[in-house]
Amino acid sequence: MVPVLDIDALIGNPQTCIIVCCGAGGVGKTTTAAALGLRAAESGRRVVVLTIDPARRLAQSLGLTTLDNTPRPVKDIDDTRGGSLDAMMLDMKRTFDEVVEAHATADKAEQILANPFYQAVSSSFAGTQEYMAMEKLGQLRLEADRDPDNPRWDLIVVDTPPSRSALDFLDAPKRLGSFLDGRFIRLLAAPAKAGGRAYLKVFSAGVNIVTKTLTKVLGGQMLSDVQTFVAALDTMFGGFRKRADHTYALLSDRMTTFIVVAAPERDALREASYFVDRLDEEGMPLAGLVVNRMYRVSAPGLSAARALGAAEELGDQERDSSSGVGTSDVSERTAITQGLLRMHAVQAEIADRHESLAKRFIAGHPGIPIVEVPAASGDIHDLVGLRTVGDALAGQ
């Protein structure tokens, strides 16, 4: 017996405060996050949905035209149960700027914001997104907790960044931590500190070799620019570190739960497997798997083979009954029935393939709750569409 992922129980549980949706790109992760958020809000939760995807898809489905790093209320939701829904899209540069402004003195902040390295790192380089997604999640959590008697939100739904691997999001705080604890940062930050170099010299004789090599590879100018940049940020690193650790702890807390999203395709399910295993390894709480876009036939009980056989037989019968030679064409009416049967056969085959892919995943991961969401014939554009997805998520 395969356990069913009970979405309504999950969002109905007041202990669930953070839901992280993860999975490969193109499996409907953002739509799932938005539908979950809407369903939770309409059941009475105060929800904020954080999306990180640069293609403003959540905006489209939520009918928002701008998502600008600030949670904005979603209009026209059913709030009769006292819930609310805010949505936002991560703007990584703005998030980074805000961190700088909040943690450095005004002079220093200005100096950092104007640094060309800072500008490249904060706006055009891959990898920053994961750090900033973590940062933003931490911020939202703080904001939600500000007034415990009247929290602005009691549920945060997070859509993970479209990373090389969806796991980058999970690994970001640890990577940052290992760097901040390492020797390399001290070397990079050294020139700006009074006596830093002297301190390092005692600390390790390798410093000169490394500095020389870096100068050779990067060029003296670039190295000194990097060093200025790192030194300027140095005052903030402690804060970064603390918050990253805090957010990581938040993710493994009982109030957080992960939902892995997949589509019935080999690659997407492979990624889902990998994710399920990693969450398990890290002791992260997994609620279950959502398999989107499951193809289902509307005419049950007629297999693909039987449908094709019937279509063929219709043609044979017609040819047998017609006396003329060379009348291989069937009547228009028969052609329609044949067409319906053949189309059904194709759809039944796809449905079978999806079913067997899902079964294989289940066999490989016994005990993981699953919910399958049927494929829709069109794309989701509005709240009505999201509600339908929400119903399907809840098994309705």
């Binding site: 790109g25 193109g26 293609a55 060309p116 790192v121 055009s124 380089f125 891959a126 990898g127 920053t128 750090y131 479209p162 090389r164 691997s165 990577r175 290992s178 760097f179 390492g182 020797r183 390399f184 390798g206 070799i209 490394v210 090599t213 870096l214 590879v217 990067l218 060029g219 100018q221 670039m222 620019d225 589509a263 395709e265 080999r266 690659d267 492979r270 036939v297 509307s298 005419a299 049950p300 009980g301 019937a310 219709l314 019968q317 009416r333 028969t334 052609a335 329609i336 029935t337 067409g339 319906l340 049967l341 189309m343 194709v346 085959e349 796809i350 393939r353 014939s377 069109g378 794309d379």
Partner: protein
């Protein structure tokens, strides 16, 4: 001009040596990149298929063991053509680069010990992309005989196909060297970054986009083409993947959409061939036809959006068995027949 018997076939991308394949997640860009590599390797050519996200999608597509850090032959094509596979690794690329240009002995070890290598390859934003594109650049420029110099020297690969990051990240990935050149105002990094940017923007390179006939992937294709243009990257073709076979004629589709198909006729036909024509079955078949008609209409609209892009467009049929190594060969044949390779 009359085709010259005996010469290589005319294809849409003659003269292109670097094919970059992107697409929204779930559109099948990895399998399309694999098929394109195989198609390009026809006529006895050597093609490198490189992935840059460490997903091992290539080895899975061709059903070969996971790719290690060296280039290995993964498939044979017609007339002695060969496809080599490489999973580009940022750390290996960095160490190779340092060795090749700086001959770092003990100093390289010190960089590693100090965490500089880890910093560059996993922590520092952007550097990974610099290293990955740098390795692709090296593979395109490599000579078959490494001592040979000059424009006449035979390249190690006739073409390089890159299974690039998905549409959401590809522009940032391809344009990273331009950003880096701005940061390094002088010095070796700047000239290296400039050379990579120059190659990526040259007529030797094209970026192909893979899409499905669905709204979101098509929209991302349109957006990505605009973004690529804005940064001066040459746009290649659009590959429409998983195109469904048309089973119902236009008349039937229209009748289905209008609910104008006779339930009684269908029921009678089914009974004639001994299928139990329950109400649920007949209703179900008609619902399926209606849904299908709706989907076909949507697909037509999307196909028009793609046509409006005015790019060479290729269509790959949906393979009902899913895509395995044989499926890739079938796709390669289709791409060749349509002139992509």
């Amino acid at each position: 001009m009359a085709p010259d018997a005996g010469s290589a076939r005319d294809t849409d991308w003659d003269g292109v040596r670097l094919h970059i394949v992107t697409g929204k997640g779930g559109t099948g860009k990895t399998t399309v990149a694999a098929a394109l590599a195989l198609a390009l390797a026809g006529e006895g050519r050597r093609v490198l298929l490189a992935e840059v996200e460490g997903r091992q999608g290539i080895s899975q597509s061709f059903d070969v063991p996971p790719l290690a850090l060296t280039e290995v032959r993964i498939a044979h094509a017609a007339h002695g053509g060969e496809v080599f596979g490489l999973s580009v690794d940022a750390k290996a690329a960095l160490l190779e680069y340092l060795q090749m240009y700086y001959k770092l002995g003990r100093a390289g070890g010190m960089l590693e010990k100090f965490g500089a290598i880890d910093f560059a390859t996993t922590i520092a934003p952007g550097v990974r992309d610099v290293l990955l594109t740098g390795k692709v650049y090296e593979a395109v420029r490599r000579r078959r005989d490494h001592r040979a110099r000059g424009p006449g020297a035979a390249p190690a690969y006739d073409a390089v196909v890159v299974d690039a990051p998905p549409t959401g990240r590809v522009v940032r990935f391809l344009n990273v060297n331009h950003e880096v050149a701005d940061l390094a105002r002088v010095g070796p990094i700047r000239s290296q970054a400039n050379s990579i940017t120059a190659m990526l923007r040259s007529p030797q390179t094209v970026v192909h986009l893979v899409t499905l006939l669905e709204e979101m992937p098509v929209q991302e294709t349109v957006d990505t083409i605009a973004e690529l243009r804005a940064v001066g990257m040459p746009i290649g073709g659009v590959v429409v993947n998983q195109v469904r076979e048309e089973i119902l004629t236009l008349d039937v589709l229209e009748a289905a959409a209008r609910n104008a198909i006779s339930r009684e006729d269908i029921a009678a036909d089914l009974t004639r061939v001994h299928v139990r024509a329950t109400e649920a079955l007949v209703d179900g078949l008609l619902t399926e036809a209606r849904d299908h008609a709706e989907r076909v209409t949507l697909e037509r609209d999307e196909a028009e959006v793609i046509a409006d892009l005015g790019r060479p467009t290729y269509r790959l049929p949906s393979l009902s068995e899913g895509v395995d190594a044989n499926g890739i060969r079938e796709m390669a044949e289709t791409l060749m027949a349509q002139g992509m390779a």
